[in-house]
Symmetry: D2
């Protein structure tokens, strides 16, 4: 199983793709599951494109599909994925009554140029990304684990029903929210998301992440008035300057003594020429907190900063929320269960009940939706022994983490019984 998992994750790694453009990855998922006795949903049955902010354009999707064709994937499949969306939902029925599980595996990569250093395994072993994007957050492993888990479970020898959500666009927190309207959580009793890495020892099983942060992503457009920088500067209204003011003040938002208060402006683009007072500038950024109310307060303060910066420079501003995720409130009973299974498999030393995750994941939106309907949820982690932090050009997981992850999830599902059903 290890060889197969390594083969899968390396091929996925090589074809890293950006959010909502995971056409090769989704095609690979479909290819690997071909012929198995599972039910597969794609397109509008797996996600709803309408309402996604900044969904890639037809051109971007066509370009992604062309690249995937060039890389050897099936053109017909790619065309459909590029047109209808890259989410894939796989249902596997169990042979006896039991809970309906939803397991989330995220499949997208990041806009990071992968390291070519020989110290970096993907570079050394020849499976570094060929696409410009990079799997610098372990989603290659997640996807491989999901595929192998499906193959293990097709024997049906487990109670209940398993649904695997291969989710696009976890990075940027837009994919989860797009899958809910397609009904992928209907009837779900238990929700699990899995994440690898976290600078924990390879294979260490963690019952739930704690400190998972709520986040809101935003884009602000500043619009001023263009003017010749020497001929009539007094007639200009400087949109780039307003953005600069906004950036410094977003970074200077008050800290809290009670919760994390992260704020970032990640990108900026503005202006047209060296000698023209710039009339346009766009920034994108985010706020995060491990406390939901604090995250909302941060967004309110960002709005104040944006208004203030615009007023200061006499320009117009418009803030659009582009994505969001929420905090995690795992259910103790489910955490107890997965921890108990892990202890049986790996011994006490191979398990922790909790570990801190100072990051966000829109799996929280799925978890909250399942909980809202009366189900249970947790967010399990498996150590990846990564030396470099997530989102780093040298990030990689120790492939020794893959088999334990599959074994753990498989055993959690096989060993569930009716008694543990919420009711």
């Amino acid at each position: 199983m290890r060889d197969e998992l390594v083969r899968l994750r390396r091929e996925i790694h090589r074809h890293a793709e950006l959010p909502f453009l995971e056409v090769a990855t989704a095609a690979l998922i479909l290819r690997e599951l071909e012929g198995l006795p599972v039910q597969i949903r794609t397109g509008a049955a797996a996600m709803t494109i309408d309402g996604v902010v900044d969904y890639p354009s037809v051109e971007q999707r066509a370009e992604a599909a062309a690249a995937a064709v060039a890389a050897g994937f099936d053109e017909t499949t790619l065309t459909a994925l590029a047109e209808n969306g890259t989410a894939v939902v796989v249902d596997i029925p169990g042979a006896r009554p039991g809970p309906t599980w939803a397991l989330r595996f995220d499949i997208d990569g990041l806009p990071i140029v992968e390291s070519t250093s020989p110290v970096h395994l993907p570079a050394r072993a020849g499976f570094a990304s060929q696409t410009g994007a990079m799997h610098a957050c372990g989603h290659d492993g997640h996807t491989a684990i999901g595929l192998q888990l499906a193959r293990q479970l097709v024997d049906g020898d487990f109670p209940g029903h398993v649904r695997m959500l291969f989710q696009p666009a976890e990075e940027g927190s837009r994919g989860a929210a797009a899958m809910i309207p397609a009904g992928v959580l209907d009837g779900v009793d238990r929700f699990l998301a899995l994440h690898l890495g976290h600078s924990l020892p390879a294979g260490l099983a963690v019952g739930t992440g704690v400190g998972v942060q709520a986040t809101t992503k935003f884009r602000v457009t500043f619009t001023g008035i263009e003017a010749h920088a020497a001929g009539a500067p007094q007639e200009g209204r400087n949109a780039v300057a307003a953005a600069a003011t906004a950036i410094l003040h977003i970074l200077a938002l008050p800290r809290s003594s009670k919760a994390a208060t992260n704020a970032n402006v990640g990108t900026i683009a503005g202006g047209s020429a060296t000698n023209i007072v710039p009339s346009s500038c766009v920034i994108t950024g985010e706020v995060r907190s491990d406390d939901g109310a604090t995250c909302e307060d941060l967004l309110e303060r960002v709005r104040g900063v944006i208004d203030g910066a615009a007023r200061t420079w006499g320009v117009e501003s418009e803030l659009v929320v582009t994505a969001s995720a929420t905090t995690l409130h795992p259910d103790d009973v489910l955490v107890d269960e997965v921890v108990a299974v892990a202890r049986r498999l790996f011994g006490d030393a191979g398990v922790r009940r909790t570990a801190t995750m100072s990051a966000s994941d829109d799996a929280t939106i799925l978890a909250r939706e399942v909980q809202r309907a009366g189900g249970l949820a947790t967010y399990v982690m498996v150590g990846g022994a990564n030396e470099h932090p997530h989102h780093h050009p040298l990030f990689d997981i120790d492939e020794d983490c893959l088999v334990p992850a599959v074994r753990w999830l498989e055993e959690v599902i096989r060993s569930a019984d009716d008694h543990s059903l919420h009711d």
Copy 2:
């Protein structure tokens, strides 16, 4: 005459006083004019205190009077001046019909610590300021010139009528506006203000300054919410930070291709303790331009910056205009006259029709008021050979400029005839 002028200006220099606190200086003026056949007005007959923003407190005025008493001036006089205001208006009637002149001489010093360097004449010759304030703008010379001119003219051998306005608080642009309501410009046909220095050769006569800048002084109070800096920073609203934002953005106001656009924040004070998010901060500043509309526009933009900074930090702000002066529009016919007189006295090489003055003077408010009523005005300058700029701890005038200034003004007044009256 030179010795007397030097003696006068040195004594005045030694007793430099801050705006509206010129009690020793006014007492000296009264003392020097004692017994002369002139009419003198002080107190409410010379200026109106009501409406002056930030007029010194009773305590400040009592302190200034006490210092002047200690320096040997008459206590009764000082008490009256401290109570009723420090403006002195002197009327001298001419023996024959002619225009009514108003001549402005400003009498206040600056909050600058005078240099004690031996290269600085006042320090070397023992007449440096003993008060903490400093005559770093030549008003000591102006006052001496006015006093000597009064003595020259008491013979009455000139047409018309001369009124001398010994004006307090030119620095900060509050004194001129305070004198108008007292009626000191009633019936005035011609207005002259005199200024020494300007890095021009000693004694050079200039028919009018050009580029004199309109200015508005302002004070802004930011009010936030105090909080423990580590215990609850999220509950604070930082008034000092808002002031910092305002300062940087006032300095970054757009330049104009058409006019000077000066902006300054000169003072700041805020906060209470190192470990407390500061809830209060006060800044004072000014805008200036050689174009009146541009100056008004600058003030509007300052308001925008203040509002924006307050909004950015979630604090309250209040802007108060504390003083203002306007631009200068000298009357050609009067400039012609004074230039013609100067050429007769000093030859062409000793005269310029105009020189640039990149500064402000609230004499412009008096000039505009006289012009509004149909009179003529100009702002003459006499070179002071100052090596260091005005408002510098080493500023001083070459005393050779004093006699030419008196002779020029005297001759302008004596040689005026009815034909030059506007009508």
Copy 3:
């Protein structure tokens, strides 16, 4: 005992004094202990003035003494305290062998104007501060508790030896460091500091604070070049602007995912006149973190910001560290002891082993010094039921917390035995 504690703390509250100026407070301590069989040290035997940054001037101390005389305290005592320092060290020997305890009670107030609202007990009951300073951090209670505790213990019926450190200048973190060189910790086996308040129920006993933050206080002086704001702005180098830049960027220092990263600029003063480019500005501020290395890193980054701001504006800068405190590492064995005593006294519901304190206290410097010499330390807290946060004009403690605090400390000391001595 309650009445006496209330009387003491109210009198202390009424005479709140600023750091190192606690002459009335120290005189009150001496007065209350007069005639008791204790050994008292003051002056150089209790603290070392040399090396304290910004120690109050002779004039400030004389003024404080004069105010205390006016309030009815003994003039001779006050003169000595104003001259030699306001620390008071009280030694009480026990009747049998045992550990030497040092107990820290801080005695200073804050530069906060106390609320006069009728909702505020000190205002309503007539014991609000009469001094301009305010006990807004509970030190009035600490001092009263220390005094009462001394009275309880003079019977000598306890093992070992008790030393009480009545410490000046806890606010600003300068007093503790000044006491160590006077030898006040020599031979100390166990260190306790006590703090009231923390928005915990009145009388709740907490075995140790956690999250106590290391802090460094600093003062930065920016020195530029003065210039007339309109006449020669290009010749100025703006010190206030550099301070503004520094402030915004200190507030925008990167947050950490691993530790608190507080930074504050609490005060600013700069500039001389509205129309002069300001050449001087002074700011004071602090950094804090619950992680010592992070606190050091913050200070390094502040230095980078100061250098950068100075370079940006072409001015000079000088940063002086004025005070510091460190993190707290309480000894479990001592925490166990004090918790056990508290449970005996108040029951389980009246005790917590730990509570978070998002603040700093230079008792940590004393604690670390005792630990360095092989002793044990903890920082106990007693709930004060304060509705408003510490350092707030409406802060006050519920006086019901005073008796439990005295009883707890007394019992901890009386019940210690040799077995618990570290060795």
Copy 4:
């Protein structure tokens, strides 16, 4: 002649091209001069590509050539221009001895989207730009005037020799400096540059611009360290924030009382993703002054700001000067000559000796080079009656200005005689 000038300028207007990419424009120039008895230099004989900062890439030039082919220009010509440069130098010998003239006509457009409003003649009359770039500075008129002037002068009926420099990349100030090393000024006695517009009445002839500003364009690259914005913000070094700091402080550079002090940051691009602390940011900007030394001082201060901003944020910075132009010092004798000719042609009312031009032009580099070698230079202007400022999407010239411009230049050249030669 008017119809032909209008036809030419409209065709040029329609094909506006960006600096160094003026392949269609240069091809049009060559096409229009085909068959005339003039000597034409292109490629390395007209400009030196080496040393030009940010010269367009092979791909950009190929794209420009492809667009020009699509627009109907000759492919062979375009390929050569795209490969070797877009400068065109045209020599026309006169029939009798006389001065060698160099006349500069700039040919490039701006990255501005042209207005489609019906109030805008190019939109209304169907000759608006089809390229995305725009002739918003009148270079379409300049080029047409140059072409028509060449046709007029081919009769050789004038003293001396005329060399026309059709210069690329005036916008951005890189083209003039690139032409000098190719020897295009060798042997030149007199230099004229022509500029239309300036909000002056159509056809008004101006002997020389005054106030032409020296300028330096720069690009700054900030390089920090990427980090996850919530997972490890303390490990990031924020390049976008450093750029923001730099922008605000460049705009806040001190104003001068003696000269214009323009500073602009025109473009910014940085960062990679919303949730990543950005490690890279590039800004481009410029400084300008009508005083050369002030312009150099501004650049020094920009360097200080860049260093300071980088130090503040702990990032690296690199400033590259990408282009520059200098001030204009026209030779009175040549200005006298061109003014005299203009008065003969248009009468006194149609001529001004000088007009202010608050802008820059790298023709000043050519002028200075000719003057350095002993020649004379001026920069003539012809009013274009433009309602909107230069570089505005609605900028356009009144075509009535074209014929007077050609007639004036023609007559200046025809009427020169040996006596006016410098020697």
